[in-house]
Amino acid sequence: MNDPTSGVSHLDFDAKESTFLDASELIINMGPQHPATHGVLRVILKLDGEKVMGLECVIGYLHRGVEKIAENRTYAMFNPYVDRMDYVAAVSNGLGYCEAVEKLLNVEASPRAKYIRVILTELNRIASHQLWLGTHALDIGAMTPLFYTFRDREEILKIFEKYCGARLTTHAFRIGGCQYETYDGFEQDVRNFLDFFAPKIDEYEELLTTNRIWVQRTRDVGVISGKDCIALGVTGPVLRASGVKWDLRKAQPYAAYKEFDFEIPVGTKGDTYDRYLVRMAEMRQSMRIIRQAVDGLPSGPIMAKVPKVLKPPVGEIYHSIEAPKGELGYFIVSDGSTQPYRVRVRPPSFVNLQALDLMCKDQLVADVIAVIGTLDIVLGEVDR
């Protein structure tokens, strides 16, 4: 594949008498109601027997017009909406949006707020990866990891609930800082979670990492090179598993990430197994970051000085963060009023989904499932 951007060749839906044998391929519609498409993704597969000749994603079944809604809300009012995009990693979405607006307003969150943000975001990264692991394993046929990950994810959600009252769509941050001061015993809860979770990752790995069937199902499946990743704009663990050491937390540090010591796990081959390993390692790194952040949590106010009515100066800003799934960017244009003139979200899932066709070409139907799982898409984010 020299030109990954060439896209899918036109699918001929009027192919006469499609059978398994003749020249015209079998066309199968997978989704939008299908157990393995993680929501309402529709994939049109062009098959030659079991081999995938090409595929086309049909998206938009979950489109809610989030970006348009932003134009009719004030900056603060739009904040909860972003949680509904990548609902598995709501905290990351909020962080990205808040930081983008802060950049536009030219304010900076207080150090304590930054630390709290890092803790919650990294907890959310772990939760997101857990959900990915469970569903991915279930897609490949291992049902047990799903229940293990959901058991442990519950602990994270409990911390969220105690902190801000919501489990999934947290709306944890405000422009200029945090919504709430931490509750009593927050640090202890987080530390307890870290102690609780460290052996659990080993448990997951014990089930899967050396499982022969798992390795056979994921090795050399959905291979994508670093070059193709960059050409397609693929980011996040998918990019890193292909050997490109690119993590916005290191490359363009935001929040308080500059102050923490952690590594960027990278893969070598860019196959599904590498992506699995990278995400597992990322969970461990996240734990490392959380521990440093909890230990060094500074005291002080949680909110910076922010005017009551937000009226950013005329201008535009692009700010991106490393969400669990990749680069999550917000492009905000301000016309000086209380409402943004335009908000454009760069969702990692949407961009990563482009690579699906390239990664599935010449693989088998069963691999499509594995690749959709390994891309870790959330349709709320793809369709917005």
Partner: protein, 169 residues
Amino acid sequence: MTPVATPFFFYMLSGLMVVGGLFVITRRNPVHSALALIVTLLAQAGLYLMLYAPFVAGVQIILYVGGIMVLFLFVIMLVNLERTEKEKPFNKQWLVGIASAVALGAMFVGVYVRGRALLPEHTVSLPEAENTQQVGLMLYGNYMLAFEIASLLLLVAIIGAVVMAKKRI
């Protein structure tokens, strides 16, 4: 154990066979034909049991029904064509074909009626309990060469089928 109610089972099974055979050659849909053929083959396995040939009956079920017919069904589904159902199932010379086949049948009946004397009611005892052993001994004794040739034939058939059915080798 001796077969019980022999005439009843004979007429039932042979009736099934003939009706199944009729369905095979008259159905438009090849899948229905194949299913009718399966009924025929199973009924025939029953007849083998009545003829004290349990091993042949078992082979009939495993090979014919479990192997060959599954292959047939597989291929019918691969070349799954709705067009063929709309076409005429019989070719132009159907009348001649039926006439000659019936003539052949009449000849058979004639031979059987005339040559009845050639078929004395002579039976040998075929102990069912040792049928498998005896068949095995004969296969690897008297018919050793034929057995080897058959295996060679099957090998050639495998290779031939692969060569012909595969798009690119």
